[in-house]
């Protein structure tokens, strides 16, 4: 409720009277303000916004106002001057006031200022000009507010009503849901009745299975009392204890007379004590899931909340279709289906007549969706159909097949979740084997490292020691060496000096000698001089004496020099040998020892460290490991770093990683099932049958972006619903001109009984209800939807690539409104069989009508000898020609009969008769070059039974790639009766068929056929 407000700048209140009575009032109501000052305080402080109620006053004629606080109401009347209010009294908020306030009737008065005066005379004169109590405006505003309030409430009531209507389900939706529920209940009842007739499975012993570590104690092994019952058991079978139905689970494995059951919850061994028995609950799980699906649909809890509207009323959501673009692998119609499948928001229907490349289209759609990162469910009624699609998908997609192993085709078994889990397990174990080994290896001598690290201070010390020793001995050695060297140098120097001195002296002597010799020579020459000669004769002997002295000195000095030289030489020699002699040699030896000891130690340590580092480098972050050491200093550093790193961090890191890897391996080895959820998360494409997708436990929480349903024309809604509610959008591919869903015999009988009951009972709508159930069961959802779909949500594939054009033309005209065209492949337009001299027509009918009636009649339920024999002859010929052939018949008995005939006839040819004869129902989806069809029915009443179902004939006609040969009794067929009345539609169909055969193919009598065969075998 909105509040309306009214602004007042000043509210002048005359409180004279109030002041008098307030104390009295307060005796009754102690929580009220003690006096008017307090009152003013309170109002000014907390009530600048105050709700005001307008109350009629019979006495005064004009309404009074109630200003309401949370504890009291102030009753005021306007002054006669219109400038102020008179406070009459304070009163408690009575229930009427509370009610009115709660209803939002009050107008909010926004008072800037409360001004209390005892009497009018106290009002400031200056205010008289502008002061107004706005009484009249307040009254008006209040009235307007009331009116608005009333209008609002009315609107609210309406809105609530409308909302209630909208949330309800429409009648069409209700009706669909009701019918669904009834249908599901009905089928469930019938199945339950079936099951109860089965024998309970007794066991005599039970053991817990699995390691205690993984036991949620939910897996147990049972031994059968009656081993023959093992045949009743199969993997995946759902069962419950007979006496305690809430204890249930499914069979994991069956071996000999033992079987393993995994229960839904952990159970005590005590609860399972034998002798007890199990009851199979095949339908229970499916039933519950179907019910849940309906519930979700009803409550709008489906992944696509609009699904119910689509199914019940054909209300689709519009979407913007991307522009047409040529697709490399798809034709125009297929490309349209492809585009729309990727863009549609709720549901797309694709009709794929035979041979139009449905599987191919599906494959492209799945591929594109998976590439977009969407999760796709591929589902169909049969395992074969699902596997067909999965096989056509490229292997780079992550595909998972969910289903029972026995029922899945061999090519696809590797995609089963169990298989994939196992192979993932193996590959994981293999890929990490090396690493694991490396870890384990290290773990084995981890204590070595520990010791190494523990000893590392000592190692460091030792290295330092050795290093010191080395240095010390080197020092001693070099010191000694230096000392000796110094000594020698000294001596040498002095020797050399003396040598030099001697040499000098020698030189001096020589020179003197030379001078003297010259002088002597001079003297001699001057001996004969007259006067001086006597001087010279006196001088000469002196000179000669001097010379002799000099010569002696020269000799001596030379001798000295020689001696010195030899001293020097000796000294040098001695010096050279110094190294070899003590003490240097032993000092040197000692140094060498020390050095080599040190080198050895250093080398050993470095090597060991290097070894550890190399091993660890593969397992721990390399940046945390020290660099390889190149020299002593860096080795010490590395050693230090390593020791520190190891103790502080690396050891525990290694331990953690080791433990992690061990745990990983252990887990992988024991329980590959633990990989299921991960596989599921990884997979983009999951394939399962409709019921399979319902019952598989691992799929129970999975939702899908797209659900692709193949063979949608053969699935009833109840079955289809389960995958549909799990998908955000869906694409249904099918052909409602081919076989519809099969309704179980028992169900049919039950329905008939119900129908009778309904007819008798007078309950309204009972008959309708039963017929609704019938429709739901026998008409596929596809067919029902196609009847109402809009153009945007429907595509028909129109080009067929399988049948010869001659056959396709007929089928197209009869069943597809002439919209089915044949692709322009040469082999389709000129069938290979045309070159056959005996039976050149693609579309051939062989008529037995001219045979003697007793011979051509049907027997049993039903087989026809005449037709069988013709077919066998044709087949033998085809076999000889090496052609690929199939026989299709409507009745199982006919198939058995022909099989027998073939076996007799072909014992020497090595034929495989079993797989090449089939009923129509089991051959849908298959194809063959040559197809032979036997109508089988031939009788006087012209009864044709279920041949009448034209869709069955459609399937039979559309299997051939090259040639179609039909064998039947035109008399019976053209005059067909059904339920005592002429089967007009069937008659017309046969007329058209025979006419067409005559014009576009061949229509032969059996005689002509036999004649040709005879001719053929002669030639």
């Amino acid at each position: 409720m909105q509040e309306s407000s009214f602004k007042l700048r000043v509210l002048v209140l005359v409180v004279g009277k109030l002041a008098l009575i307030l104390p009295e009032l307060r005796r009754r109501y102690p929580a009220w303000p003690a006096n008017v000052e307090r009152l003013q305080e309170e109002l000014q402080r907390s009530y600048t916004r105050i709700p005001v109620l307008v109350r009629p006053d019979r006495e005064r004629g004009q309404p009074y106002l109630l200003l309401c606080t949370s504890t009291y109401a102030l009753k005021v009347v306007p002054s006669s001057q219109g400038d102020a209010y008179i406070a009459l009294s304070l009163q408690p908020l009575g229930h009427r006031e509370h009610d009115a306030l709660a209803r939002g009737e009050a107008l909010m008065l926004e008072v800037e200022r409360w001004y209390f005066v005892n009497g009018f005379e106290e009002i400031p004169r200056a205010w008289q000009e502008w002061l107004s109590n706005d009484y009249k405006q307040i009254i008006k505003a209040s009235q307007r507010h009331q009116a608005r309030l009333r209008a609002q409430q009315a609107a609210l009531a309406e809105a609530l009503l409308a909302q209630a209507e909208q949330e309800a389900l429409t009648p069409a939706q209700e009706s669909l849901l009701a019918t669904l529920e009834r249908t599901i209940n009905l089928t469930h009842e019938i199945e339950k009745a079936n099951e109860e007739s089965k024998r309970p499975i007794f066991y005599r012993q039970v053991d817990a299975a699995g390691e205690a570590r993984y036991s949620s104690r939910d897996i147990y092994i049972f031994s059968l009392v009656d081993p023959s019952q093992a045949a009743q058991l199969e993997r995946g079978l759902f069962l419950a204890l007979e006496e305690r139905r809430e204890l249930r689970g499914h069979v994991l494995d069956v071996q000999g007379d033992r079987f393993i059951v995994q229960f839904e919850h952990a159970i005590d061994l005590d609860d399972l004590r034998p002798p007890q028995a199990f009851l199979p609950l095949g339908s229970e799980a499916a039933f519950r899931v179907q019910q849940e699906a309906v519930e979700r649909l009803r409550s709008g809890g489906a992944e696509n909340p609009a699904l119910l509207a689509v199914l019940a009323e054909g209300r689709y959501r519009p979407y913007s279709e991307p522009l047409p673009q040529p697709h490399p692998h798809l034709n125009a119609a297929q490309a349209t289906a492809f585009r729309r499948a990727l863009a549609v928001k709720d549901l797309l229907l694709v009709q794929g007549p035979p041979g139009t490349g449905k599987t191919h289209t599906i494959s492209e759609i799945v591929r594109a969706c998976a590439r977009r990162g969407e999760r796709v469910l591929v589902t169909a009624r049969t395992h074969k159909a699902v596997d067909n699609v999965l096989q056509s998908l490229p292997s780079e997609l992550d595909i998972l097949r969910v289903g029972q192993e026995r029922l899945v085709s061999p090519e696809v078994r590797s995609l089963l979740i169990d298989e994939r889990a196992r192979s993932l397990q193996t590959s994981l174990l293999t890929r990490t084997a090396e690493l694991h080994q490396a870890f384990e290896k290290l773990a084995a001598h981890q204590d070595e490292i520990d010791r190494f690290v523990a000893l590392s201070p000592r190692i460091q010390a030792r290295l330092a020691e050795l290093n010191a020793a080395c240095r010390m001995s080197w020092m001693r050695y070099s010191q000694e060496q230096q000392r000796l060297q110094a000594m020698f140098n000294q001596e040498r120097e002095s020797l050399q000096q003396r040598y030099a001195t001697s040499q000098q002296r020698l030189e001096t002597i020589r020179r003197r000698g030379e001078r003297l010799t010259r002088s002597i020579t001079r003297a001699r020459s001057r001996l004969h001089w007259p006067l001086l000669g006597a001087f010279w004769r006196w001088r000469l002997p002196r000179l000669q004496r001097r010379l002799t002295e000099l010569q002696q000195a020269f000799q001596t000095t030379s001798g000295q020099l020689q001696q010195l030289a030899s001293h020097l030489a000796v000294l040098d020699r001695r010096f050279a040998q110094l190294e070899q002699e003590e003490p240097l040699s032993s000092l040197r030896r000692r140094y060498n020892q020390a050095a080599s000891a040190f080198q050895q130690e250093q080398g050993a340590v470095a090597r060991q460290l290097q070894r550890f580092l190399m091993e660890l480098r593969a397992l721990l972050p390399p940046e945390e490991l020290p660099a390889p050491a190149s020299d002593y200093a860096s080795l010490l550093q590395s050693l230090q770093d390593f020791a520190e790193g190891w103790s502080r961090r690396l050891r525990s890191l290694f331990t953690h990683r080791l433990q992690l890897l061990r745990d990983w391996h252990h887990t992988l080895e024991v329980r590959h099932q633990d990989l299921y959820p991960s596989l599921l998360r990884m997979s983009n494409v999951i394939g399962a049958t409709c019921i399979g997708s319902a019952t598989a436990r691992i799929l129970s929480d999975v939702t899908f972006d797209v659900v692709l349903v193949d063979e949608a024309g053969q699935i009833s809604l109840a079955d289809l619903l389960v995958p549909l509610v799990r998908g955000k959008r869906a694409v249904l591919l099918g052909d409602h001109q081919q076989l519809p869903p099969i309704v179980d015999q028992t169900v049919r009988q039950r329905l008939a009984a119900l129908s009778q009951q309904a007819a008798i009972s007078e309950e309204e709508g009972a008959e309708e209800a039963v017929s609704d159930i019938e429709t739901l069961l026998s008409k596929s959802m596809f067919e029902m939807l196609v009847e109402r779909v809009d153009e945007q949500h429907f595509v028909m594939l129109t080009e067929q690539y399988r049948m010869p054009e001659r056959i396709a033309r007929f089928v197209s005209a009869q069943f597809y409104g002439n919209r089915l065209r044949t692709a322009s492949l040469p082999r389709l337009w000129h069938a290979h069989c045309e070159s056959d001299p005996l039976f050149p027509a693609s579309f051939t009918f062989i008529d037995t009508a001219e045979m003697e009636s007793s011979y051509r009649m049907e027997r049993g339920h039903y087989y026809n000898e005449a037709e069988a024999r013709i077919i066998v002859e044709l087949v033998l010929r085809a076999q000889q020609q090496g052609r690929d052939w199939r026989i299709i018949v409507p009745y199982q008995e006919q198939a058995t009969y022909i099989r027998e005939l073939l076996r007799q006839a072909a014992s020497e040819d090595g034929l495989k008769p079993q797989t090449l004869i089939a009923t129509v129902d089991s051959f849908q989806g298959g194809e063959s070059d040559l197809v032979l069809y036997s109508f089988t029915r031939s009788n006087r009443r012209h009864a044709i039974g279920f041949l009448q179902e034209h869709r069955r004939l459609n399937v039979a006609l559309t299997r051939a790639r090259d040639q179609l040969i039909l064998v039947g009794d035109s008399d019976t067929l053209l005059n067909a009766m059904s339920g005592g009345r002429p089967a007009e539609d069937f008659r017309r169909l046969m007329r058209d068929l025979l006419e067409y055969a005559r014009c576009q193919g061949e229509c032969l009598s059996f005689r002509t056929c036999r004649a040709r065969l005879a001719r053929g075998s002669v030639a």
């Binding site: 408690p92 908020l93 690493l435 745990d663 633990d674 990989l675």
Partner: protein, 414 residues
């Protein structure tokens, strides 16, 4: 579709029960009742809660690898576990999305959440969780858990309007919800007692919406008297609601603390009571004092004592204003309590039996299962109210047979 009477009965405590409870307290006489709709704030909050579920295989191992074994790059994870790179990438993306892992593929770390999760052994996934909390609108005090167990009693504004009954008053509190109260509540250690689970983390913008709601409360004015009920010496207001126990102490305390609520009750004039009862009597077509008398019983409860003659006329098919089964029941007129009574003990016995059968009928109509033990209990209550000795099963059966209503007990005897 329930009738109006049924709706009211489902919301408010019956006068019978109220009177019973007050009388059991001793010394107080219940005089009149007020039916109120007490204003509440319905606060819609959103917070973060962690969903706990077991770890999936890959989740656990990858987180351990990043957290314990300090593998920091996606490449290392691939190498360590041998997993295909696509699988590792997908799982890492998922862990990032739920907030367990941070950093790009070359520098992976566990977030706080991731670490906490790993330690606890359960995969914690933050979820936005919404919740409704209720606070009374006078003081914004939070309502205790017991009120949430009977949440169907709490009416939305629209429902309260639709109830539009003159005898029920919607109270007005005049204040707005104080968000601080929510914060205070979040800080309390006993917040679970107020329906705020401790695992729910409230962020700064926890309040999404505040709407008005109403709680149906019956407030009873009871007096303690002096001798002969001449003067009231004490006046008390007691509160009753259909939340377990029936006497509502939480709101009783509120009324004491907020005098404004009590002030809103009109003054009780003792002289008025007989007049009110007279009005009722005349509406029922009863002649005072021949057919009915106004009195107070020993416990002080006002009574309209009916003459036995009124019930003898049954066989003649006259129009009867009252039936035997009415005797013993407390009625209220304008809120004032008075009990219909008869001096004839036989009649009162009959009333007990009839009332029991009515009860059975009503339960069957509502398809409620009924057991012998509980029926005997109910019968005991009724007998007490009627001041007759407790009746036994056989007497009930006999009475049923007399009335030709064996079908009622058939279901029971089973």
């Amino acid at each position: 579709m329930e009738t109006r009477g049924e709706r009211l009965r489902n919301l408010f405590v019956s006068p019978n029960r109220v009177v019973e409870i007050v009388q059991a307290m001793g010394e107080l006489v219940p005089l009149r009742q007020f039916r109120l709709l007490l204003p509440l704030w319905r606060v819609s909050i959103s917070g973060r809660q962690y969903e706990k579920r077991p770890y999936e295989l890959l989740e656990r191992f990858l987180e351990r690898a990043i957290g314990e074994a300090e593998l920091r790059t996606a490449a290392e994870l691939v190498r360590f576990f041998g997993l295909p790179p696509a699988v590792v990438a997908k799982t890492l993306d998922f862990l990032r999305t739920v907030g367990h892992v941070s950093g790009d593929d070359a520098d992976l770390r566990l977030t706080e959440l991731g670490q906490a999760s790993l330690q606890s052994g359960l995969f914690l996934r933050p979820l936005e969780s919404q919740r409704l909390l209720y606070f009374e609108a006078f003081d914004s005090q939070p309502l205790p858990r017991s009120y949430y167990e009977r949440e169907s009693l709490i009416l939305s504004e629209v429902e309260a309007v639709r109830l539009g009954d003159r005898t029920i008053t919607r109270l007005y509190s005049g204040s707005y919800f104080d968000p601080e109260r929510l914060r205070q509540l979040a800080r309390r250690g006993d917040r679970e007692q107020y329906n705020l689970p401790s695992e729910l983390e409230l962020g700064p913008n926890a309040i999404r919406q505040v709407a008005r709601a109403y709680f149906p409360l019956t407030v009873v004015e009871a007096h303690a008297y002096d001798e002969h009920y001449r003067h009231a010496v004490k006046k008390r207001y007691l509160a009753f609601s259909l939340v377990a126990g029936h006497r509502d102490l939480f709101f009783e305390r509120l009324i004491q603390e907020k005098p404004a609520i009590a002030y809103s009750f009109p003054e009780l004039d003792e002289d008025n009571v007989p007049k009110v009862i007279e009005r009722y009597a005349s509406r029922q077509g009863l002649q005072l004092p021949d057919e009915a008398r106004i009195a107070r019983n020993a416990a002080g409860l006002w009574q309209l004592v009916l003459s036995p003659r009124l019930f003898q006329a049954a066989s003649t098919g006259e129009r009867q204003p009252l039936r035997p089964s009415d005797v013993g029941n407390v009625r209220q007129e304008d809120g004032y309590f008075f009990q219909l009574w008869c001096k004839d003990e036989q009649l009162r016995r009959r009333s007990a039996l009839e009332q029991t059968l009515l009860f059975v009928e009503r339960e069957q109509r509502r398809r409620q299962p009924l057991f012998r033990g509980s029926l005997l209990q109910v019968m005991g209550h009724i007998c007490k109210r009627l001041a007759v000795p407790v009746l036994g099963w056989s007497e009930l059966v006999e009475f049923t047979r007399e009335q030709g209503r064996e079908d009622l007990l058939e279901e029971l005897e089973a």
